[in-house]
Symmetry: D2
Subunit: 340 residues, 4 copies
């Protein structure tokens, strides 16, 4: 197996997700951990290995760095993409690309000018259940797709600072469901209608954001999509999909810490509450996403989740935000994506 | 138990549902079967008993007729309601009241002028599972309600003549989900957004109607509602509800002809396909609805499903139709319902 | 539908089960309620109708009595069977026939001498799920039967007086599983091995009886059977079957008061506790058993559960008792059943 | 983490299970692969690394070998245990210890004379579900244990040569269920009753062995145990446990390749067939078992599954064989185990 030396850009929450996965992958080698603040880089390098660096040019000039994994704050993604593309380094970038279509288009222009393999971290595509669901659909198990549904309910609202910087609930969270649905359906919506409310955390409403939303997408084939999101869920991180076609339906199940079934005086055939949150539920998917990146780079093929996929998902999420504010159906702006 | 003598108005499909249920109820007595065509009345009387009559005035003047069950074509409901109200007879009327708000308001005016016990046949309220769901919600099992979902998928599209006369998919079918949701939530939407498509039966689309819809309701409390309807479903009559609140979730399960679990070379823990259609799935609910009517009339209390409930459900369904056509959120017209 | 006039013999617990079912059946008419103590008969007649009688000869001579339903104490069954057979009355007798094979053989001799339609009240055969299970097996869904399992766990131990008079746990309770298994398998065991223990109610052990047992039956075909019984069960009346063959497996599910699925902070996909006990769980089966009796008598065919079935089940249960005491495999004594 | 250098003894089926798991474990290093035939050792070393050796004394004298993993044919286990114990090397030995209690006692004498950490490969204890089941039971979730059940049904009969060398179905397969049950219950049976049959593969019967068995164990506490084994199962490798106590019940669920739920014209809520066989189902457990061995050796504590556990399980399995032949309850011979 060909080994890729990686520079891990960033030392925040997502960097702590990728560090151990890089170390566990037999084809990846953590060469550099980069942070413009050297003390942060050194601390992370102490945990996961690799060489701590605070000089971007030096990182990208390092001949042992075969590719970069961008796990920095969202508003810096585009800058690092531009720099890495110019340096000719394959790029794995945590989602979202950015919160603005304009800046995303700048990143895409850079990738056009300096074509390097690029993969966006839509990790849920690499969850074994979601992948099995798509495979079943592609095999024709449910026939022609007519109605698709996706639930994503988080265990509890994030800190209000996170909400403020998130770009809004649709851009921050619904974007995952949007990407999954488009990837499974094999098409992107021509129109969206969304409704939002705030019933769990009044501070979120005070920021003009929602903590629960219902989104409808209309696909070019006529298929309809429902996405159900909530910032709070008493029983854990509720993640379900349901694909209904003219021959039948396939659903995915939630995950728990154990596979026991309990019977007692108050409840029967009961299961544990769900996995707590995305790190627990989608742990394997992050590893699989890096594996996809490794396989694509080493075999010189395009990785599964492209910059165009990221731009489209953002355009759809922004349309949802606008629909929820205006009460009208909105057509997503795909104009810049036509070169695909 | 006090016995009520009933006049069954009509001899069509729904009359054949109510006939045997009336006979099975210890407190109901089938006194008259009415149809303006005497041969139809006589045929039905031969099946279910009672006296065949074709003269409306005579039916309503009959001292043995304590109440009427209206199971005639929808566009005649209002006329019979007016006549029966004038005659002082308690009324059970199959849903919908009518397809037009103007005519519904005429019926309501008649009921105002001649107050008699009136019950609309929203039979799904009387399904034991739906009733248990509402009771669980009222007990506070899921806390404050935030998101409610209702699925109603029919096994196969109806004849095109039925579609033409149906008032559209929202008025014909979604109205059931709408009533259930309002009854469980204890509130009515301030705004609706709906999307429709036609992927199963092109003849339905040619009539300007939909054969699959996704509907979003916004409640005054902030709660959001998703209703999922389809005129076709490979595995039977799919009827599910999911009520999600800040303390948890309660769902209802589908019904089948047997309770066996099958394991073989291709599938495990498998169950039979679902009950075929509404007569099979909701058989008990029709009996229970008549039982509610009997109990309300004999104890002089209001039955569960009022004319106002029927008018509101129609107003919501019409708003859904309009939203699906315009792509805008629509406020239902409740004006006439304020006297409640 | 031909109507049968019935004499209900007995006014105890089981008579209170059969009374309302007889009244609800359109082809049965409760003509007489018999108890040698007239006040008891009169009290029951006050509840269910029929003529109270305390004179057995008069009951059997009554021309309006077309058949008898014996629901008296077990040790009087054989006497009433003999009397009714002599009088030429078709007989429905609550199980068990008796606790002694000698007395059962006396009843069978009477039925030989005076052949009348005879049905034993193995009501669980008439439970819709058990009937569907057998039908699936007969259709060949699981192929050749190899291993059959039956669970019957009661919610709580009976009063100690009941235990004393019960004939032992195998004769009182396991006999139901034995009959079901033989009926489904279409064969009777050549050998049984059983083990018993007493862990729930020490008073039962003090009587020399068990409150939990595990029984193994070996069938002539080679098929093996496991029966799992307990006098106590925290979550209700646990009733399950599992039939495993060379093509797959079919299981039956437990019943509950509602069909809701609950999700909260401590448990997910949880259901209610099970139906409390046999009256709740098998309510429909008693009605269906009377329906089978009615159908068999009016069409002059043999009812489903014969006296021979009852004798065989008793012989097997007695062999289980003996095996549990001796620790050896025991062959049931079928000698008297050969005439079948 | 302290690293242990391992000698993997044997190159057969189980060695191919352990080789990759040793390589994947951060604290284990595959130092030597031993087979008395050098070509076999070299071939395996080519696959998994390590130094191929055919000289047992040299292996045990190798200072880089900190411990041995014995995965040779069962009838050689005792010889290798004696040699490794004399050499002072910690031992992980694939189950069973041996098929004869006499030879097992020889191994145990060697371990008494030369005490080294010893762990028997009862891998199913290290399956996460079985471990969670035991933990739930130890937490008191079901109260006092009264009835325990274990199902183990294999997808298809093994080659007849395997059957001939297996020591019989109870010793080869039931021994796993026996060990799990004793480990969960915290006690060992005082008496066993077993029944066997041969309905799937007549060649197995011709060897005097069974291809399906039902086993009953009686525990000192009074608890009863049912074990259900089959050499054939149409829907895969059926692995279930059910622990019933005075407060409730806990069950474990089967595993599948995906977590999808399918609905179509013939079946609803259906799942895939089960994992094919033990390598697929218990893959993780082998890794976890080696992890337990590593943790025990490096922290100088006793590993979970002792030689005494192995001897007791064999004694119980042999008692089952005898019971199935004689039709009598048999007391297992634990005499040699008293020093525990």
């Amino acid at each position: 197996m060909q080994t890729l030396g990686l520079a891990l850009m960033g030392t925040g929450r997502m960097a702590h997700v990728y560090g151990p996965k890089i170390n566990a992958h037999p084809g990846l080698r953590l060469e550099v951990i980069y942070n413009p603040r050297m003390t942060s880089a050194e601390k992370a390098a102490g945990q996961y290995g690799g060489c701590a660096m605070d000089d971007l040019d030096a990182v990208l000039a390092n001949p042992k760095v075969d590719a970069v994994v961008i796990a920095t704050p969202t508003d810096t993604h585009v800058d690092y993409i531009e720099a890495a593309a110019r340096a000719g380094k394959p790029i794995y970038c945590e989602k979202p690309l950015d919160q603005s279509l304009e800046r995303v288009d700048r990143a895409m222009a850079a990738l056009d000018a300096h074509p390097v393999p690029f993969m966006l971290g839509f990790n849920r595509r690499f969850d074994p259940d979601n992948a099995a669901l798509r495979a079943a659909v592609k095999r024709g198990e449910v026939g022609r797709l007519t109605m698709l549904m996706s639930w994503s309910r988080e265990p509890s609202p994030p800190p209000i600072d996170y909400v403020r910087a998130s770009g809004g609930y649709f851009v921050d969270a619904t974007i995952h469901d949007i990407d999954l649905i488009c990837w499974i359906a094999g098409e992107r919506p021509v129109e969206v209608m969304a409704a939002g409310s705030c019933m769990f955390d009044a501070r979120i409403g005070a920021e003009g954001d929602f903590d629960m939303t219902m989104t409808t997408l209309r696909m070019p084939s006529g298929a309809l999509v429902h996405i159900n999101n909530s910032r709070s869920c008493a029983y854990g991180f509720d993640q379900r999909m349901e694909v209904f076609g003219d021959k039948g339906m396939v659903q995915t199940l939630n995950h728990r810490d154990d596979n026991l079934v309990r019977w007692d005086k108050t409840r029967t055939v009961a299961r544990e509450p769900l996995k707590h949150f995305f790190l627990e539920r989608y742990d394997q998917s992050f590893y699989n996403a890096l594996d996809e990146f490794h396989a694509a780079v080493t075999t010189e093929r395009n990785p599964s989740a492209s910059a165009q996929d990221g731009r489209a998902a953002l355009a759809i999420a922004l349309a949802c935000s606008q629909s929820a504010k205006t009460g009208s159906a909105i057509k997503p702006d795909y104009e810049q994506c036509l070169r695909e």
